[in-house]
């Protein structure tokens, strides 16, 4: 038996080859395919997880950016509004002051005019009364021309008196 038997060798080798072929077909191929499939599956899962993560990060960054942008816009708007409100208030105060000044000036003018008118009226009456009194005193002794001269002189004096 320890001598070389080509017959045993060939037949047992054939037996092994048949066994090999069957085991490979029945067991190895399905196992290897399944493992390959699982490898691919895991690879896919990892890839998609990485992709999802990148996507999530991108979205988060975008959200952050938008939030920042919105915040800036709000701040700008508030600043503008505040500036406009200040400006408006200042303007209103200015206008009010101008209006008040105008009203005061008008009032002064009115008072001045009234006073002047009242004075003029009083003057008129006074001069007329003076002339009338003088005429009564000097009745018949004064010519028409002297009368006119006296009146004007009296007016002049009165005017000097008033002013």
């Amino acid at each position: 038996m320890s001598i070389i038997d080509p017959g045993t060798m060939i037949v047992s080798l054939l037996g092994f080859l048949i066994s090999f072929w069957i085991v490979k077909r029945v067991a190895f191929q399905p196992l290897a395919n399944m493992m390959e499939q699982r490898r691919k599956h895991i690879e896919d899962q990892i890839q998609s997880a990485e992709r999802d993560r990148a996507e999530a990060e991108r979205l988060l960054a975008e959200q952050r950016r938008l939030l920042e942008q919105t915040r800036n816009e709000v701040r700008d708007m508030l600043d503008q509004a505040r500036a406009r409100a200040d400006e408006q208030a200042r303007q209103i105060v200015e206008e009010a002051r101008a209006e008040a000044d105008r009203l005061i000036a008008e009032g002064r003018q009115l008072i001045e005019r009234e006073r002047a008118e009242a004075l003029a009226g009083a003057m008129q009456t006074l001069s007329e009364l003076t002339v009338e009194l003088t005429t009564k005193l000097l009745r018949g002794h004064v010519t028409e021309s002297a009368h006119r001269e006296m009146v004007s002189e009296a007016e002049k004096h009165l005017e000097e008196l008033v002013s």
């Binding site: 038996m1 060798m9 029945v26 190895f28």
Partner: protein
Amino acid sequence: MPKHPMLFADHWYRIDLVTVFWTLVVGALVAIVLGVVARRLDMRSPRGLQNVMEWAIEFTRSMARDTMPSEQGVNFVLPFAFVTLVYLFVANWLGLIVTIEFEPGRDIPVLHMAEHVKYSLNNSPTENMNMTLGLAILVWLVSHGYGLRHPLRWLKQYRNPMAIIDEVTNPLTHGMRLFGNILAGEVLIEAILKMPMLFGWVPTGLPLLIIWLLYSMFVSTIQAYIFALLLTLYIGHKDFSVAHH
């Protein structure tokens, strides 16, 4: 040395029936067990034997990666190495499980069996030198078939004439190593079993037998691994898809 029934015992092409029979039985055993496992594959939650098989494939793959220069070669050799590893593991253990002796009681000339000779009916197929040498030659053929995919590089390896010696010694030692280890184990088991009993009933050989069985199990496992490892190594040597230095 165990005696086996032979076919065509007087011719050069005689066939050792026990070896051939158990060669086929081991193949059938491996095919059935692995086939049942493969029938109930679960990609998501593997359990039981499937885990063992996947571990064996991964083990073979890492073994091939360690010894072969290219991933392409690993993929080529993986089915061969895996099936050989599992097959030899089962085959080497076979002779350790049970020993069957048979005395025909009358001459059976067709099977070359004599009347009062004890024949061993259960031995590892790898216990026969012809079987292991056949496997080694198969590995040798496959390695050269693979190497000839790059004929020029294949030819270049013989610039060193010592490579020709390797071509003879490699398959020879490859087959003889396996055969020698397994044969030694089984011959010694047989010898221990033949030890005379003390007072006719105390099995003096039992402790020795147990120790030797444990050692043989270890050797059987290691030899299956070594054979598969050398298989990847020898085919890896002929992997010329990556230029050697």
